[in-house]
Amino acid sequence: MSDSIPSTEPRPLQPSMGARIEIRGVRHSFGDVLVLDEFDLAVEPGEFVTLLGPSGSGKTTLLRIVGGLTIPDEGSVIVGGVDMTLLPARERGMGFVFQNYALFPHMTVDDNVAFPLQIRGISADQVDRDVQRALELVNLEGLGSRLPKELSGGQQQRVSLARALVFEPKVVLMDEPLGSLDKRLRQYLQDSIRLLQKEIGFTAVYVTHDQEEAFAMSDRIVVMHGGAVRQVGAPETVYRSPAEHFVADFVGDINQIEGILRQSGDGLVIDIAEGNTLAVPAYVSRSMGEGDRVLCGIRPEMVLIREEPMGSPRLQATVELVSFHGNSYRILSRLRDGHRFMVESSSSLLTPAEGSTVWLHWDEEQTIVLVPPDGQP
């Protein structure tokens, strides 16, 4: 075994290429409940992919299947060209970071991080060096002799991260690792994890229900709902061009206005309130005809507020509430048809007074036209 050769240099965590993950036709159910249905996904080497979805969307189950903690009913998981579907977790060599940290409470920080190395029969000197290096990576030098319960939540999660990285896995799986931390710490750790991942180069699959976290960290986001993929794409794509109503609604704030398709000249237009018409995107006109209803989504930050009408599309609204959020104001207004409309406006701009009547404008091309979900108008 190679570990019998004493190494003189302190071995850094090698920048290594991550492994490619391929999930093919995975289906899994708990009892009668189908949680994953014919799931396909490929993650490229060194890519950071986030599974984003509400609870019950099957994202954690999928992560556990990749990690070998759950065996799928059907389908296969291929990592680095090897079919690992039936391989137990211990033989997959992946790092797994749990939401509750899962640190061994009876072991010190050092012993926790050393555990994966010791069971691989690595020499004590080497273990010491690697543990030291891993703790430095997560900025926890000097805390090695503490017990997990003597650390804060953020520190515990960093130990858990160090433990998952110390044996240099090609794939690291993270199940809502920052879920129970406060916002500031979460942002700090998001950046730390992303920097580490870029530096080391492992393939990362990350599970979260927090869309901001998904946006901040990922190369690609997989939006999941009801055990199936709803959209896969770069964060910007998912945000700006959501593929369907669920994605638009789940990812970020969005104002929804009903529209009806109408014949106008030689083509269809979308008729929304107050005489505004919008162009119909190709994917909508392909499947729908005159008289069908659509939803028009407008992101709050895409809207400009004016005291006078200026071009179209435009909607008249009454300002109900203005709230300050540091870099922006959020302006809650009410349209003439009674619907609420949210506007997010840079705090460097002037904001209208509460109770005043304003005109809301946006770039027609930034309208997100969606087919309404079944059973809703």
Binding site: L69, A89, R90, E91, F115, Q118, I119
Partner: protein, 292 residues
């Protein structure tokens, strides 16, 4: 004004909480002091003062070969019972933790069902099973495995069988509750970090349930050390344990000797207790090799 009121309240709280806590403790403390500490002191005083002041009782016991044998038998039986309960109870308790809630409850009730039957009934049931004309001997003779009935009853083995039978439910209950408390994600975590099942068991699982191992063993051990009725019935007078011996001394009105023996039993039990906590100390259980 409002702030002042708030301050006064928070300042008074800890003291009031303390008083309430004390009041809740009092009944229990009273019982312990009155019915345990006081008699124990009485036993100790008697052991060094009856029939004459001094350590004569202890000297007499120490020089008695018979007592040493009795002490050895008592410890032997108790330790073996504990080990037996651990070996038999561990898999059962573990199995119950793997069941879903309703089945687990059913199995727990079933495994503790013997506790509902009066102990004497259970012991005499064993005499029926183990006796010379008992179930086992009759069967063995009938199928021709043995010519003469075996001596299964009224010996150390019979005591052991009975002891394990009586103590096992306690061990299962205690082990189960500590096993139930083990966070599944810790086991999965060890698995994902590459540990083989044996390594996970020795380095993670055993240390995590060590409080249960200690508590269960302690319970069984202490109850076994002081068990009177069981060795009396199944040992048939041939195998004498300390509690039986103490009773015979009391019948002879040798209160001093009986008290001294009780004290020795107490000390030996405490020593075993100390040994036990050492054996199952999470740090010593780590057989897989701790680094530090």
């Amino acid at each position: 004004m409002k702030k002042l009121g708030w301050q006064r309240q928070t300042r008074r709280r800890p003291y009031r909480d303390y008083l309430v806590g004390l009041a809740l403790l009092l009944p229990c403390m009273g019982v312990v002091l009155l019915f345990f500490a006081y008699p124990l002191i009485g036993v100790f005083v008697r052991s060094v003062s009856d029939p004459a002041p001094g350590l004569s009782n202890y000297v007499e016991i120490a020089s008695s070969r018979a007592f040493r044998n009795i002490l050895r038998l008592t410890v032997e039986v108790s330790v073996l019972t504990t080990v037996g309960c651990l070996i038999l109870g561990f898999p059962v308790a573990w199995y119950i933790t793997t069941l879903e809630k309703r089945r687990a409850q059913l199995f727990l009730v079933l495994s503790t069902a013997p506790l509902w039957v009066a102990i004497l009934a259970r012991l005499y049931a064993w005499t029926v099973i183990l006796g010379r004309k008992g179930l086992i001997n009759d069967s063995l003779v009938a199928i021709g495995l043995v010519q003469e009935p075996l001596d299964l009853l009224f010996n150390t083995r019979a005591i052991l069988i009975g002891m394990v039978h009586v103590m096992l439910p306690f061990m299962i209950l205690v082990l189960y509750s500590s096993m139930k408390g083990v966070d599944e994600s810790l086991i999965e975590s060890a698995d994902s970090l590459g540990a083989r099942p044996r390594q996970t068991f020795l380095r993670i699982y055993l240390p995590l349930i060590s409080p249960g191992l200690i508590a269960g063993s302690l319970l069984v051990l202490i109850m076994s050390m002081g068990f009177f009725i069981l060795p009396a019935v199944l040992g048939g007078g041939g195998d004498i344990t300390i509690p039986i011996y103490v009773l015979t001394q009391i019948r002879l009105f040798k209160w001093g000797i009986a008290s001294a023996m009780s004290m020795i039993l107490l000390i030996v039990t405490l020593a075993l207790f100390a040994l036990l906590t050492k054996v199952f100390d999470p740090k010593s259980v780590i057989v897989g090799g701790s680094r530090r």
